[in-house]
Symmetry: C2
Subunit: 775 residues, 2 copies
């Protein structure tokens, strides 16, 4: 654990400079605006350890796969999140000495990520080897209002000297990925153009041939009695720069303004991209720093208006939840169905790919409740657009007749992960994708989506399940062999309860959706049946047979659902019997030992209970929770949130709170010493879920919003908003009451503590806790 | 399948030159003498596709592990079989044109591996671009008599020209491994020294710091009326050469003699290695080519005398079996207990490491029966010497208190394989190592070995089994979870019948061995108990408890032993239902599909039945054989032989013969198109086993040799020799009789067709087939 941040409800504040924390800080203080993003690298030279990272949404490189031993079916390429041209660079020289915080004596240093405004500020005061002392104050942001614009204001103050300051602002496309498999460059230069204070590079990714054009414009403002040279430009392969020389005087500020336009061929024709980048850049320069910033912060205010969770009485929890919400909003804005939510967002390269089942299982609920419905729609549509690739992916693994296996990790719909036990076997992801359609429709009531897109995906996934199970004569049941469940501390198991459960759920939901589409729009149905060569009679019969005869492992004695066949053959231990020095076990135990132990990385059976909670009574949920929570080591960022929700469901608020803390400050407190590689973006949505679905007990049942709010001891109150279909609700939970504001014009029916309430448009209702029953 | 060799009982003959077959031929025509070896690379320049390979026994490089995704416990390094300095190189220029068979027109070409003599001969007749025609005749060998000496005679005849021939004989230490993980050089030069016709390079492996000194000496003999220059030497980093210029005349032979001495620091002090290499080289040159060759072929005659199998009536089978025996004898001569039998021997780099369980399970029986007992003893002693490393290897994976897990692949006792499902889980290898001790003692009666070495290994392995099983309350039995059996088409299974069986067998054998050692040499026992901290009371009790309460999966309906838990849940198919176009399945199916299919790569349950055949009646053996043979795809080189032996055991000679053919010509006919990477050396011993233990039914029971010979229809007769304890037997099996010659002075008791026979020294016995009963 690595706590070096001050607690503050709206800001992350890091005071004092530490080389050890630098890479972690670069992750934590990252910025993004959905279209591009970057780690909190310094503008000026930094010769210490750093992970340089600029990322442009949707731009990737298929890096040739590297494995120890090749297995049939591995994809040839792994899609890497691409480190893109670096536009923030501003080197500063005092006399002949380079400013470099790894070398200079740092007198004071402060870094502030203002989450309310979406800005990164940095102040430092250093003494160079020459004895010259310099103060600097830097602020930068990536505009939410103009999502192709970034801006930096870098203010220098000579503390005790008069000397020449040389400012070299550059754009560097000669960058590499730290995770390149074969240490290759991924970018070629298409063109570069520099004159005076501004310039452009068009860089093209190898193989994928995406073009990114970055323009930079740098100007320097000095006080009246200081001189600044005219800008001198320089260029070389993949690199352009503008240099200013300033006769700086003690105490007189030197202010550098640097603007960037970052355009990609996802949105612009390659022929005109540079001209358009120039337009965007000129507009940004003309608008000016302050007005750009104002528009940016207004956009952020709007985001906070809908997605904030306010917690009173617990600043640590408040900072934690805001950080999670802030990062989610930085990563995905939902205006392009080709984009998705990478596990590290714009904060690092690790894992690669942009899309995991995390999107459907964890992120979708957040965007459903906090954004206009089109945002969540784009997330589900993303998978529809990749259906053909998912069918091809299935074919590569031997599936036929339109069976789709969505990839474990992807950029463009093709599988790019290469561990057989994950890539080939962690097939439950297919279920999450089906379930996301259900979730989306349930929340938005956009049933038309089922007709136009949803059913086609459901049929393809159901066909996969049909082929993936087999009938065991020995058991007289359908079984599903050789899978990896959500708990990745088991590989190649048989009859993972969760996977079997979500498989038959999918088949069932597909059957119901077929009925619905048939009734609602027969023409659309017939057309889809033709398009998919749907053999209604045979396929429906097969699916029903599987639904009726699927095998689910259960402990007959206790009624606990068993994670997989043979789970009870393991030596049964609980996590409190583990030596703390051996945790996390994934850093202390060999892989085989982890595999054969009973310890669980993340919710597996409980993931199923979370999704299908309505099927089970409280006693059943509690029985399974007690059994599995005591065996779960929570060594995935996706684990605690599901456990927290279930703990709250069964009324164990203290346990829920502890689990919540685990998830909400995972990155801020860097429990696992891995934040230097980037943030756990997708699990951040899980934190939001723990509050809304956990403490507040939000559900949707029979087309109604349901709440069963509880509040952790430490909190005075908490509040949040929910967009549900046409309505917008604000919910405030205090120790003794729940207050609901209907901020929309339509009235809303809700179930609070299992009592019906109708709240008319623009009115509020206050319900005393204790007035209803918890379920 | 790739058949391009002529059938001949003693030779491999490849006529006509084909670039496509070149890499495969380089493997098949490989030479070795136990101490060093090489692929059949051409001496002269060859610009086509080639895998250059010279290998020196015991010399390896720990190449930094490369994996896609790191798992805890992976070894940091993979020990690579090292491509060593190339001493065979002789470049030939006619005028200014380089001789290069990839470029010249090849008029005729013939390559002969004479297995009787251990020589590689090559004849070619080519026309260069100049129109000059050249004939060449080359013979080389690596001396069995002087195992640090290699020699080449390269004879050139200008067919239609008078021109200058430039002969450049070189030694090149600037070589790489084709399988280097990071494309690095593994050798540094320590020193080089060249003057005139001879020179030396001492090269040192990086990290491991082995020194290899290679010396070369080249002379050129010409006819009286031709001129040859004095030798001109040249040197550069890691390279030396000697060049002769010959005024060659049409029809007049030019004969190049090249001798090499190859010494390693395994046998020589680094301080004197070059001086000693010089001595060896001078001695070779003085001895001369013909006398070196004579001594070499005499050694081979002796090897054939003991290890040959003569088959009458089936030249194809004859050539196949001889090729297997030849390669085994080339790979391992058994005079150094630090060496072992690499899966590719001296024929390629693939797989790396020198020691797999193949040694114990397949190779040991061959060397036990065909070599002086010390050879097999060195093989078992090899593991004893690495016991400490095996204990450390266990510790790395979390085992304690002296539990040994021998590595899956090793050079020096450390694990160097890195696939978790193999490295960590294929633990049955530990059982094979224990069983090899049993086999060795049973065959040689060297019980003293148990006292001095064997028991210590057995205790350490038994401790491993004790910790590797756990007691399942659910089953009220001991179980072994998360293993991979011999059938590597299953990973991470529970209760692999074979592994559970060999585990309890080991415990049992250890108990018996403890009794024996205690009774025989109490002092030695007490000393060993102290050395190993043996807690006799507790450990014996625990082991007995496991022996008595181990769980073995069995199909209650049919009595078939089940490969693992859940095997019957798989869709049951037999190999005849497989589409031939889909075979081998490992080239057509994705890994997950292979895993969840019922198809078996190699003997697994049947491996156990092979080892512990005496426990089962014929009906049981047949039942299991029928079940598993019909599900086995034999996609391991180690598979068919075991099935052949069992087929013979149950009297199914036709099936045994088909399986035998599969194994005996695997490389010659290149079934799997993979011979270009090297030969399957260890499985060659399995071929030998199929004849001796299969057709001839050789067993040892109650200290007696047992034979139940049968003969395939196609064969007129077959014969072989067996060294058993103090005796040497020759067995000839014909259609109607078995003739046994006792070639030793002591009398031998045998069981032939279950009848007792005593054959006095130097006499023979003839038994008519049908006189006894088969079991």
């Amino acid at each position: 654990m690595n706590q070096f941040l001050k607690i503050d409800p709206w800001c992350l504040i890091g005071e004092g400079f530490s080389k050890e924390n630098h890479r972690a800080s670069e992750s934590i203080f990252s910025l993004g605006n959905g279209r591009f993003g970057q780690r909190a690298n310094f503008e000026e030279t930094y010769s210490g350890e750093t992970l340089q990272g600029n990322y442009v949404a949707g731009i990737y490189y298929p890096d040739k796969t590297r494995v120890g031993w090749w297995k049939n079916g591995y994809p040839e390429y792994f899609a890497k999140v691409l480190n893109a041209p670096n536009w923030i660079g501003i080197n500063i020289k005092i006399g002949n000495e380079e400013v470099d915080l790894a070398v200079s004596r740092v007198i004071s240093f402060k870094r502030v990520l203002n989450m309310k405004e979406g800005t990164l500020k940095r102040d430092y005061h250093i003494e160079l080897n020459s004895g010259n002392q310099l103060k600097a104050s830097i602020i930068r942001f990536l505009s939410m209002a103009d999502p192709e614009v970034g801006a930096i204001r870098y203010t220098l103050t000579p503390v005790n000297f008069d000397d020449t300051i040389t400012v070299t602002s550059y754009l560097d496309a000669g960058i590499k990925n730290a995770d390149a498999n074969y240490d290759e460059y991924f970018w070629d230069e298409v063109s570069r153009d520099i004159s005076g204070k501004s310039g452009f590079i068009v860089a093209r990714t190898r193989k994928t041939e995406f073009d990114v054009c970055v323009g930079i414009d740098t100007s320097v403002l000095v006080s009246d009695n200081c001189n600044v040279s005219i800008p001198e430009s320089h260029e070389e392969e993949k690199f352009i720069s503008t240099t200013y020389t300033v006769d700086a005087r003690q105490g007189k500020k030197v202010i550098i303004y640097k603007y960037a336009s970052v355009l990609s061929s996802l949105y612009h024709s390659k022929n005109t991209i540079q001209a358009e980048a120039k337009k965007v850049l000129i507009h940004a320069v003309e608008t000016g720093f302050d007005r750009l910033l104002k528009a940016h912060t207004e956009l952020w205010a709007d985001k906070w208006e809908h997605s904030d969770i306010v917690i009173e009485g617990d600043d640590k929890a408040q900072q934690g939840i805001r950080f999670n919400i802030f990062q989610l909003n930085q990563t995905y804005t939902g205006d392009d169905e080709r984009l998705n939510i990478g596990p590290k967002g714009f904060t690092g390269e690790k894992y690669g790919g942009s899309t995991y089942w995390d999107t459907e299982a964890y992120c979708l609920p957040f965007f459903l409740c906090t954004s206009p419905w089109k945002v969540a729609r784009n997330l589900v549509l993303y998978r529809y657009k990749q259906l053909q690739k998912a069918i091809e992916n299935g074919e590569k693994l031997g599936f036929t007749e339109g069976a789709a296996l969505y990839p474990m990790v992807t950029m463009n719909g093709e599988e790019c992960h290469n561990e057989w036990e994950i890539t080939f076997e962690e097939v439950h992801r297919n279920g999450a994708i089906a379930h996301a359609i259900y979730n989306y429709v349930k929340h938005t009531d956009d049933k038309q989506y089922l007709i136009e897109y949803g059913l086609e995906v459901l049929i393809a996934i159901s066909r996969f399940w049909k082929q993936r199970v087999n009938f065991s004569k020995a058991r007289n049941k359908y079984v599903m062999l050789g899978v990896t469940g959500p708990n990745e501390y088991e590989n190649n198991v048989n009859n993972n309860w969760y996977t079997n459960t979500i498989a038959t759920w999918t088949l069932n939901y597909t059957l119901r959706t077929i009925e619905f589409v048939k009734e609602t729009d027969r023409t659309a149905y017939d057309s889809l049946a033709r398009k998919t060569n749907f053999n209604e009679k045979v396929e429906l019969r097969d699916w029903k047979d599987i639904i009726e005869n699927m095998y689910y492992p259960v402990d007959k004695e206790t009624g606990v659902f068993l994670q997989q066949d043979g789970y009870l053959d393991k030596e049964q231990m609980t996590t409190d019997e583990l030596d703390p020095a051996q945790r996390p076990i994934n850093q202390h135990w060999s892989w085989d030992r982890i595999l054969r132990s009973c310890f669980i990385k993340q919710a597996d059976v409980l993931q199923g209970i979370y999704l299908f909670e309505y099927r089970y009574d409280t006693a059943t949920i509690k029985r399974n929770f007690d059994f599995y929570e005591s065996r779960t080591v929570h060594e995935s960022s996706l684990s605690s949130c599901v456990h927290a929700i279930i703990a709250a469901r069964i009324g164990e608020i203290d346990r829920a709170y502890k689990l919540y803390l685990n998830t909400s400050r995972l990155d801020l407190d860097d429990y696992n010493n891995e934040v230097d590689e980037g943030l756990h973006i997708t699990s951040m949505a899980g934190t939001w879920m723990s509050v809304i679905e956990g403490f507040a007990g939000k559900r949707i049942r029979n087309n109604k919003l349901v709440f069963n709010p509880r509040i952790p001891d430490k909190w005075k109150s908490y509040s949040f908003k929910i967009i549900f279909r046409d309505s917008l609700l604000k919910i405030i939970v205090t120790k003794d009451s729940v207050i609901l504001f209907n901020e929309s014009d339509v009235s809303v029916q809700l179930l609070i503590f299992e009592n019906n309430h109708v709240i008319s448009g623009n009115t509020e209702t206050k319900i005393k806790i204790g007035e209803g029953v918890y379920t």
